[in-house]
Subunit: 242 residues, 2 copies
Amino acid sequence: MSALIPNIEVGVNGIYASLMDRTAKPKETRAEIAYASLKTAILSNELPAGYQAMEPELALSYGVSRTTIREALIRLEADGLVEMVPRRGARVVPISAEDMREIYQLLVSLESDAAYDLAKRGLTPGEFKRLEQTITEMAGALDRESMADWAKADDDFHRGILDIHGNQRLGRIVGGLSDQAHRARLVTRRFRPLPSRSVDDHRAILAAIDSKKAEDARRLYSEHRQRGAAEIMDIIEKLPQV
Amino acid sequence: MSALIPNIEVGVNGIYASLMDRTAKPKETRAEIAYASLKTAILSNELPAGYQAMEPELALSYGVSRTTIREALIRLEADGLVEMVPRRGARVVPISAEDMREIYQLLVSLESDAAYDLAKRGLTPGEFKRLEQTITEMAGALDRESMADWAKADDDFHRGILDIHGNQRLGRIVGGLSDQAHRARLVTRRFRPLPSRSVDDHRAILAAIDSKKAEDARRLYSEHRQRGAAEIMDIIEKLPQV
DNA sequence: GTCGCAAATAATGTCGGCATTAATTCCTAA
DNA sequence: TTAGGAATTAATGCCGACATTATTTGCGAC
């Protein structure tokens, strides 16, 4: 157990925790730890987009061998978070405006279809309550003017829809896409006003799902997400790079 | 011993032949070759679902070291094609009926939304022609009663939609999902009748897209895909395992 | 015979090292 | 001075090896 590995148990905090592989079993292998550690560092912008490092350097700073770091990097590369270029080191992939457009397009598509499916199936009282709870929390966050809490509640709502939907692959894919967008969102968050409208949006979506108006649910969800996406894209395009 | 495992130097399409050929492009790394080779073996059911092998065995039969094989396996695992269980070896993941349901649900969602988007945007004459061409080929395949050719044409059509759509991440995700379903499709193909209806389906979809009837395009595409999915699911559920 | 425990086996996770070779620095000649 | 090439540096891809440990085998007691 190398003390060199930073923030292992601390690394997975709140919001990121829900973004990380939720079904992963705690296989405490060094490569696994390096992977998780590196991943949270990237998602939190601790290692910003464009950051580049050679394998030996990473191995040294994480206190493991190159083989081990390499294993972690390969997985990160498969996640689309890192890019390995021979003799130029591993690089945290930058996300262009075009990338964000792609990602949001997919998120809108996948999530609003999920809402559509859910509406067709309907909600159990427990499921309804769970979603409603996130809306309540979001309202509270707005009152407190806490952007972080708002983001958490927002995430919980969208995450809840996917969980209830039940398609695990859907969850994993959306999770991966969200991860890729996460860094950019972190940056834009500071420039965005508190989205006061989101509470009403979520309420409307929940109502549509609960009353089994599938088409409405899809449309509302899609519009809601697209508004958010547009807002972020606006900022992204003005920013130098993420 | 494993005569089961295809020789790496013989690779299906000549690309892999460069392993021993030092004068050729040294771009392909051994790990990549092993990855590609393993992957095609899995997708072609040469290595069937449930096939299990230890790392040393794989390393030996591919003529590389364990480290190298390991790299390939990690990527395969990220692709969702292989599962690594300590002390029980790497296993080609079986696809349950439930898995197929998940996969097809996502494919239906993603592809019909792509059709929707395309319809909103409209097609250039060249794009229209490209898609039309695949339909012509499919009709020919049906005449010849060639299931293989039909599958090819079918794939070209669906692939064409995605290509024209342009969202590269969408293409990669759908590709990955298709890969996962591929083996099952290979198996079911023998049990399915030639889907004569597909030509009309594709024509209708293409017409809807071309005339910019977005909602129609989505609905038609969705129904078309769902029919196909249902057919395959029917067979899958009766089959022992894939 | 079989139950339990000890010994043997072997796969994994991880390491350090080697050859290769891309990138960089340093010369040297014009 | 600068172009061009030689020498140097060091990162990569790959390998074999080691300790650890799960699994299997073997063996003695009941």
